[in-house]
Subunit: 386 residues, 4 copies
């Protein structure tokens, strides 16, 4: 099998997986946007498709017919200016194009890419195609967490699917793993795909530290709540404390006390919380306050990367103490693809690992995810360091 | 045919008409809420149904089984408190219940009402049933204007239907009709249905005035715009001027200049504006400023009612200069039905007449519609007085 | 004494009274603006002066030297555009011009007006001068209520003066005065000064009604609070209820419960509330809810004016049920003076009477004051009707 | 001279310097707060005094009489709860306590500290006293920048003083200084005073880099503006671009174009901008965009500290690319003093160096200042690295 063949398989598998994730949805679920951070599933379907149309088909396929000229501003997440007669509208206010039109758009573009790749040998095209596939995988993760938000904020609390498993208890005892002072290599170092923000492999000096082999559990978080953690202002950053008071936060997202017992909404519906599984849907602010309360701290992303071979990870995106910043010698790509990562490198925190929502072939030790410090709708968690 | 039979026919016709209005919609169109004033069509379908369930079936049908206990807080527009596990969500964020569930709910309630009315003779029930029917008719009007907003703010500007006619030119020349000073009787005065805000028929002293026999046209509004009406602050109320600047208003809602020519979105799609038809989708602020510019004024609701037999009306809800206030001896009904009108009697203006969106048997000379002074999504218009 | 002499005396007395009102202030008190509705005392001093400079001295005194060119945009409440290098700033952010400069400005203008009036005989000038004097008197009322707000929202609750008396118990028993149905004349009807909004004397038909001879007392308002009036949503307008919840209103402005006993801040400092004096510092929303709770209502401004000779008034501005609208045949004056009243005739309620803050020669039965429905910093009160 | 004597001198000099900074002010200037980030000068005078009263006099002077019990909540910047009768008010809304009362408070506390220090030998007290002095010095810097904001946003643009010199051209040519890869020691390392955020001296690995010996000049910033830097979205962070558009930013703070020529407000009044002096009053967002435009970048705080002995600094606080984070082994102090720095370590950027507003004995190579990325009212600047 040639590289291109294997890439084509990867493409086909990825396109199909996105659609599989939407199988349990009603048409209505594709449309809504309950908060600004959540995009309608319909938009994810269209935007990932637009990416292939805009950056591959328009450029490398001379006879390509654009599916619908209007879709470029509906599904472009980067646009700054729009045509004269267009009324600006938030994504969740767009009932059209309809879901079936969006699926037709997907099929049109998928087939056109397949035909193009079969007929052309072009290394540059392969590079962009690979980015497009990983871009779509990144959106698969968001798609699932956005679906959870859409259903989990509906008063009927509908079940998404019974076959997904969000939670798994650790199989080992909690232990502190110690790492010795010295210079470590940080960043991506192979010919496999990675994003530009992982490049610029460089040396980083770490002092002695210890990192937990397990994630913080719901049981530990019950204790934090019971100890008044959400009411103790000196555990929090000033900005975090403002957030707790303004938003009246008193538990992780999706937690509901039903007849005195903590439940949480999951993709399997409302369930009693299992104390032995890792806590999730917490903000950086909450992760930090919890660590303060334990007399401990969050690891930096460098500590995490240097130690990650010593413990298992992959259930929760793990908040780190590191701000999302460029590595030494970071180079932004030219043009629109250069907007991918660099422009977000301010006022966000790095998360490391991956989560139950991460699709296969998308997790790696050098991957840097990033979110604002108040966001909770991802499957976030935390691991302590000291 | 008995009174009850005739009411039953009225009920059946009304329920069917609501559903007919939704025939041209895609499932996705039922869900969205682009601005706070617009409700999703799905919500109108459910809310008008909930009204019959809550105020008739639960009370008068002892063996009635509620369709779904959760629907009462989803479709209740009056509720102040909700159950413990319910997450508050705006109407446009609710993908569930699905459209098909809502239609099932409608059918369940429609059938139950039909069975109840056929089996019981109860004058009190008839009264509430009649209110429920008129309540649904009122929502039909909102439903159509909300649909227009949903489609008209979509960048694809889809057509709703080609069979509806929004605009019709006046067939007579503009003239001033004069009305003589004296005491006039104002308010509802027959055994036909009316809302509580029309009752309290009373005397009102009017001074000599003149009122136009025609509505203001698009041609006249073109002239207002061309004369800089939207830039001339002394034509506006202070609050209106703030609104114009803050919202950057420079034309009626749905107007778009395409290649230098004024078009507007209509239920038939984007069309060139016919100068001879009445202007629509203007706020009270704009109606007032236009009248100021003409050296004229808006009629009061009393002037309108006293003169309405002298001219034709029914295409546009007409802004009046009158604030929405209780008539002398106005009595709020007891209980939840009493919330219907009285609690809105502050900081709104009265509109008289009716519009192309008004369903049959719903317009009458004493009907008092009312909206905030900045709202434009209804088929509003204006008639001058002096 | 000629008319002009008498006007000059009136002018001098008015200018002096404004300055007397400021005597108890510290320099710092002249500067702050704790809420948008309150203007710094310094601004009142300058704005009333600017009025005479702009509309009289610049026009009628050819050799007049403007005190400071920059003051026109600092003290003009009407301006829409300002010079290029000017930074827009809220009134309470302006530490300069200093208080002593403002007093110098006052003296400069006062002397110039005195010199002008002594030297010129001009009826038009007299008219504008009279308006300017009444304009300043209107600001005296605002000045005192703004001072109360500035001091009453300071945690030190400083006393303004011990010689002012805010509260006086009624000397008569509460009674219902009945007024008979018929046509009444409403509006100003003499050669004395009045504002344009009182003109257009016209006929108004009133039905039988009764109006209380006394204002609602603090004792009655204690009972309203004790009965849960602020928690009973069906006593309130929908917009009023939103306001109560959003602003967490649970008592009139300036009320504080100290050790279980209701106190209020007054111009004499913090005091125990006397139950027998009229309640004050309530919004229209609260006045309306109170009346609902009593099974009663507020009078209209027409009912008030037709009955006002039957009871004593003058302690509290009294909220009426009437929206602030133009009288029949209302004519806005030309030019800047025309902006005085007409542009506020929307979404406000009329208050009738006058208050302890009203300066002498400023109260009359036809005077129409007006405020938005949520405002409370004036000495407002209420009288019931039915 | 003993250590305590020298500390006492330091205390007296510091207290006097704060008051000297206020000498050119009018009473009115002490009161206003034009934006949330700026505190009224009166508040700085009181707050720095309260610090000594709260943390020294109340604790170490048994017979100390509190000057005014109410001042603790007026001048406490940390408080979470306030007494029952206290009305929450923003600092700029407080006309009382008056300026003269605040000066009396200062004198009362200054004298009490002098008496206490003269009578007691206590090392712990010395430590807190030293913190209090440095706390006041930190506020001196804010005081001067806040005064500049208060005067510079007044339309009269008054001069503060003619003896202060804000700007000085570099005396050397721009050059790139190269620093070699290796492990560097970062953080405070002497017995002199420093803040807790500078402690935890640690090793940091730096790769080869070059840093400019001079600050970016106004001339360079003119070029950035002329090249459309404020209109070129791909030079900016996404969050920075939102800020530019929302706030309509098109030049550094205090810049005004007068008759086509760039001027800026300075403490000496409005002046033509000297192209050869360092640009100031820019946000991090602007510093970053400028560096992007030059194909360069900002240094990290570690690069700055490792190289700072190679160039002169002290005119402008210099934005770095580093997020404000705890050093390895950072320990927050116990109690209220522990709130000093740690709780701000999120979503801010580090600035290094010092500025023309920095008082003597307050600048050092390890000092870490920090501000949110949109703030501009400090004397900020930038130095390029690559």
């Amino acid at each position: 099998m040639t590289l291109t063949d294997s890439l084509l398989d990867f493409f086909i598998e990825t396109r199909a997986h996105t659609e599989n994730l939407c199988k349990p949805l009603e048409i209505e679920d594709y449309v809504v946007q309950p908060i600004i951070d959540v995009s309608p599933p319909k938009w994810h379907l269209g935007h990932t498709t637009w990416f292939f149309e805009e950056f591959i088909l328009k450029k490398y396929k001379p006879d390509y017919t654009v599916f619908n000229e209007d879709f470029s501003f509906v599904f472009n997440s980067y646009y700054e200016t729009v045509g004269q007669r267009v009324v600006r509208a938030d994504r969740g206010n767009l009932s059209r194009p309809s879901v079936s039109e969006v699926y037709a758009y997907r099929q049109h573009v998928t087939e056109a890419i397949k035909a193009l790749v079969a007929s052309v040998e072009n290394k540059e095209l392969d590079t962009v195609l690979e980015i497009g596939i990983h871009h779509e995988k990144q959106h698969q993760e968001l798609l699932l967490t956005d679906i959870k938000y859409i259903l989990g904020n509906n008063p009927l609390l509908p079940t998404y699917s019974n076959s997904i498993k969000e939670h798994q208890a650790a199989t080992t005892q909690q232990e502190w793993l110690t790492v010795h002072e010295g210079v470590y290599d940080i960043g991506h170092n192979s010919s496999d795909f990675c994003y530009d923000n992982e490049l610029g492999r460089h040396k980083f000096y770490l002092h002695d530290y210890a990192i937990s082999n397990t994630l913080v559990t719901n049981a530990a978080f019950f204790a934090f709540i019971a100890a008044g953690g959400y009411q103790t202002f000196d555990l929090w950053h000033a900005e975090g404390w403002d957030w707790v008071k303004r938003e009246q936060i008193s538990a992780p997202l999706y937690w509901h006390k039903v007849d005195g017992v903590w439940h949480h909404y999951t993709l399997n519906g409302l369930q009693k919380i299992d104390p032995n599984t890792p806590v999730t849907h917490i903000s950086y602010f909450e992760a930090f306050a919890f660590a303060q309360w334990k007399g401990s701290r969050l690891p930096t992303e460098f500590e995490w990367e240097a130690a990650q071979h010593l413990f298992s990870w992959g259930q929760r995106w793990e908040w780190t103490e590191s701000a999302y910043l460029p590595y030494p010698n970071y180079k932004k790509a030219d043009g629109a693809l250069g907007e991918y990562n660099g422009k977000f490198m301010v006022n966000q925190k790095v998360l490391r690992g991956s989560s139950v929502a991460t699709p296969n072939k998308h997790a790696r030790p050098t991957y840097r995810n990033f979110f604002q410090t108040n966001l909770r709708w991802q499957f976030t968690g935390l691991r302590l360091a000291k």
